[in-house]
């Protein structure tokens, strides 16, 4: 059987689970959970170096960027200007071109500011970045992002860190039909069944952070998510039966005594 891989900006990946590296108790817990999850891509943030203590451990000491792809993210940016500055710096750290753009518009629910997001996508694409875009699940805005050159469309299932699961399945289904670049559910996954649903709807991948990092046992949840993504994907590919309100016996009637 042909290996079921997917491509982002011409780079091939086997795992359809992308995980965040935030909110863990410590870096050891984070690196262990990532290993268990089988993820090949992890999101990372750009922040100031601690100049008063150079002995503090760095993320790169725990997660080797040569083995797992770092996906620099603009988490916490509320303007296009800040997001562009962050990603240009990220590129400078290690030559990263594939980045995740996230321009937030609301401090409470962390919904994306789609106008700023679209503007940033246009600029970054022109600068040669391959931009994976965190966005709302609005099909029109998602189409605009794709037309602007986005390398992946990453609609939220629900607010970041909320764990509510996919709130607007209709929109995700419409997005699946119209999106030609990878469609990745980003934000709002709470449990394994949410990830299964996303994959069964035909999404190319899911991005999970809080649901794993803040689970009572992050390692077990990392494993659960790994299998959820595999299971959902297989279910999608296998061609499900049509739902039917009538029953249909699993055992033949012939030969009944």
């Amino acid at each position: 059987m042909r290996l079921d891989t997917f491509k982002i900006a011409n780079k091939k990946f086997k795992s359809r689970l992308i995980v965040g590296t935030g909110k863990y108790k410590n870096m050891l817990e984070c690196s262990k959970a990532i290993k268990i999850s089988g993820a090949e891509i992890v999101t990372v943030a750009v922040r100031r170096v601690n100049i008063s203590d150079s002995s503090k451990p760095l993320l790169m000491d725990y997660i080797d960027p040569k083995k797992i792809m770092y996906l620099p993210n603009t988490a916490g940016c509320f303007t296009s200007k800040d997001a562009l500055r962050t990603l240009r710096l990220a590129r400078e750290i290690g030559g990263w071109k594939i980045v995740k753009l996230e321009v937030l518009g609301d401090k409470k629910n962390l919904f994306p500011d789609m106008i700023e997001t679209l503007k940033s996508t246009e600029v970054l694409t022109k600068e040669g970045f391959k931009v994976m875009v965190y966005c709302n699940d609005d099909p029109l805005m998602c189409k605009r992002l794709e037309n602007a050159g986005a390398s992946a469309i990453m609609p939220l299932a629900a607010p970041i860190g909320s764990g509510l699961g996919i709130q607007n399945k209709t929109n995700i289904k419409i997005l699946r039909q119209q999106t030609k670049v990878p469609l990745i559910i980003d934000a709002g996954i709470g449990q394994a069944s949410d990830a299964v649903q996303a994959m069964e709807m035909g999404c190319d991948a899911v991005l999970i952070n809080t649901a794993i990092a803040k689970a009572r046992n992050p390692f077990k949840m990392a494993e659960a998510m790994k299998y959820a993504v595999l299971s959902g994907r297989k279910s999608f590919l296998s061609g499900r039966i049509m739902p039917n309100l009538q029953g249909s016996p699993s055992t033949p009637i012939k030969g009944i005594i």
Binding site: G20, T21, G22, K23, Y24, M27, C30, T43, V44, A45, V46, R47, R48, V49, I51, S52, S54, L58, L59, M60, Y70, P72, N73, A75, G76, R88, L89, A90, E92, I93, G94, I160, G161, A187, N209, T210
Partner: protein
């Protein structure tokens, strides 16, 4: 200490006093920053890491040194 030979710079929001003719490379060495794991900005412009020893700091320069940390 001769104050005339000193300049004040701001690194990651903190004021540091360094010698006149202090390069960014000197700064990186002083802070023991692992250069391959960071990016540097001088007054809002990204600094080419190959030219660190050629860029000398001026009074009131603002430097940002960033790296990757855990995030969503």
């Amino acid at each position: 200490m001769n104050k005339k030979n000193k300049i004040k710079i701001v690194v990651n929001g903190r004021v540091l006093t360094v010698n006149f003719k202090f390069s960014i490379k000197n700064l990186i060495q002083k802070l023991k920053t692992p250069i391959s794991k960071v990016a540097i900005e001088l007054n809002g412009e990204i600094v080419d890491k190959k030219k660190l020893n050629k860029i000398f700091l001026k009074n009131k320069d603002i430097i940002e040194i960033v790296h990757f940390i855990g995030g969503g």
